[in-house]
């Protein structure tokens, strides 16, 4: 029996490197992914929010206020000239947030002045995801000024540190997601492609005439997918390290999660290919399965930002546990969390493998 599995694997390797398009896509797809994510998260203004400020006061106090906003480190102040017509400016530049500092701003700070209030005007695009963040920063800086005027002392102070160790940059957080995604797409698409193609061109029929069993065939396919997955992941890590100073490495739990998830997704591909006969349709079906998982499993967007019902959906998607587990293992060093995810993935892999064996027919229909 090992002879049969070994020789199928050897043949798969030969066919793989002889097919230029297989090699290209196995390497190109993850490279494209990591280049896109690298470009998004390593360039630009470092995740700062732009706020356009028209300073009508142009006084010592208003300068201090702007300085305070700047010091928050998440606000990028863009100065709008004093004489600019603000409604025209908004029409032309479509800013997310515009803050107008009134001309009486500094007079409010004069001790004993009769009219001790001033009103900042914050205009904000409510559809923008950063609206809440910008609003709360402006409010907190204003509060700070209010407190200072009232000469109240600060009782609560805040010191912020990053949750993961500080050597990581933003792309490090996304890398486990990219690895999870690559594992899923590679295995599902390969499996669906091979299964439907071999059925169509009659190779299956020939294989069925030999003593090879369907269990051996499924096992061989899963082992082979694992090889392809590790080629892809190695590519991701090499490109990540070379271009974006990625600091992550694969620890044993991460490797176990990758192994069990490729078994899981290969089995899914088997089941899919079993029920969809034409190779063309099978590809579309694979897309229909991988696409929602891509977006709903916390691979690209954190689950916390999703509405409750979508989070509930994410809880039943296998990719969620792969992404979570890999992130826990590779970024947060959270052994317990990673192990929990690993257990879920292993159980799912076993269930799907058994379903795959049960539904696959080693007979002509």
């Amino acid at each position: 029996m090992p002879n049969r599995i070994l020789s199928t694997l050897i043949s798969s390797v030969k066919m793989f490197y002889r097919s230029k398009s297989s090699v290209f896509w196995t390497i190109a797809f993850p490279v494209i992914l990591i280049l896109i994510f690298g470009a998004i998260f390593s360039g630009g203004n470092g995740g700062k929010y732009n706020i356009h400020i028209q300073d009508l006061s142009d006084s010592q106090m208003s300068h201090k206020f702007i300085e305070a906003l700047n010091q928050s480190e998440v606000i990028n102040v863009i100065d709008v000239g004093k004489d600019v017509n603000i409604s025209e400016y908004i029409r032309e530049n479509s800013p997310t947030a515009v803050l107008i500092i009134p001309s009486n701003f500094d007079s409010a700070f004069i001790p004993g002045a009769t009219n001790n209030t001033t009103q900042l005007k914050l205009m904000i695009d409510p559809t923008s995801t950063s609206a809440n963040v910008i609003t709360s920063i402006v409010i907190s800086v204003s509060d700070h000024f209010n407190l200072a005027i009232a000469q109240g002392g600060e009782i609560i102070t805040l010191k912020r540190t990053d949750i993961a160790s500080e050597q990581f940059n933003f792309i490090d957080f996304f890398l486990p997601g990219i690895i999870a995604l690559t594992t899923m797409t590679t295995t599902i698409f390969w499996t669906v492609d091979i299964q439907s193609r071999y059925r169509e061109n009659g190779i299956f029929k020939k294989l069925m005439t030999t003593p090879l069993t369907r269990m051996e065939w499924l096992a061989t396919q899963i082992l082979w997918q694992l090889v392809v997955v590790f080629i892809s992941i190695a590519t991701i890590l090499v490109v990540g390290i070379a271009l974006y100073d990625v600091e992550l490495t694969l620890d044993p739990i991460a490797i176990l999660i990758i192994i069990s998830s490729s078994a899981l997704f290969s089995s899914m591909g088997m089941i899919l290919a079993r029920f969809i006969k034409e190779p063309e349709t099978a590809g579309t079906a694979a897309n229909a399965i991988t696409f929602p998982m891509m977006f709903l499993s916390g691979t690209f967007f954190p689950l916390e930002t999703m509405p409750e019902y979508l989070r509930a959906v994410a809880q039943v998607l296998p990719l969620t546990y792969v992404s979570d587990g890999l992130r826990d293992a590779m970024v947060y060093n959270n052994i317990v969390g990673a192990t929990n995810s690993l257990v879920v993935v292993v159980i799912l892999a076993m269930i799907f493998f058994l379903i795959g064996v049960a539904v696959s027919r080693w007979k002509v229909e």
């Binding site: 043949s11 030969k14 020939k206 030999t210």
Partner: protein
Amino acid sequence: MLGPNGAGKTTTVEILECLRSMTSGEARVLGLDVMKKAREIKYKIGVLPQDFNAFDLLTVKENIQFFGSMYDRMLDPMDLIKVMDLQEKADEYFKNLSGGLKQRVGVAIAMVNDPEIIFLDEPTTGLDPKARREVWKVIEELKKKGKTVILTTHYMEEAEILSDRVGIIDRGRFLALGSPREIIDEHGSGSHCIIANADAKCLNVLKERWPDHEIRNGNFIIPLRDKDNLVEIIYALDGSGGNYEQIQVTRPTLEDVFLRLTGRKLAEGGDTENAE
């Protein structure tokens, strides 16, 4: 197994090859029940399935090696390549081979486990006449080596030339079984002498002498009861002093047998081309 498309040839052999479940009845291969001993049977048979395909990106030799490794023991791939006369193509990718060569590789693969029975399911369908003859040669080689070959075909000529025993199958039933000679003798209409374009002088003599004659398309057809008949016919023609264009003796073919048994011709027997 000779029969038109849709007769049930492939279904029958696929049951024997343990590729297909049967709905009723019993089938044994080498004494082994196909439902219970499928794995044992698979070790002992070699199969060239209909529409055979191997791995495009493996060479001829690698394909033979791959399928050989599925068994506990295998013949030397290079020996098989030699038997199939594929030496020049041994290191060629399977996808680059012509249809006839692909079928030869298929036969080589079917032999790789040195099987006791080789099943060849329509090995020449879709091949041009030259490639078809190449495959025939290979099958005759197998016969010479003493292998049992079960061949399905809808070509009458192929069955007649290659078979020791023919089973004529139609609509799922065997209509006749035996050597081509036996089947023709049993179900055929006997040999005939055909005299083409005989003139009135000849015809007068012939009509009187052989009242059981037939005239079709200007041909005068006389059933031959025994071998002396032919000599008598020639004497009669000679004695008549008339002229004729040609004299010919035909013996019935499996095609004629099929026509007599089913009322249809082999080529038009199937319901659809792709029924199998």
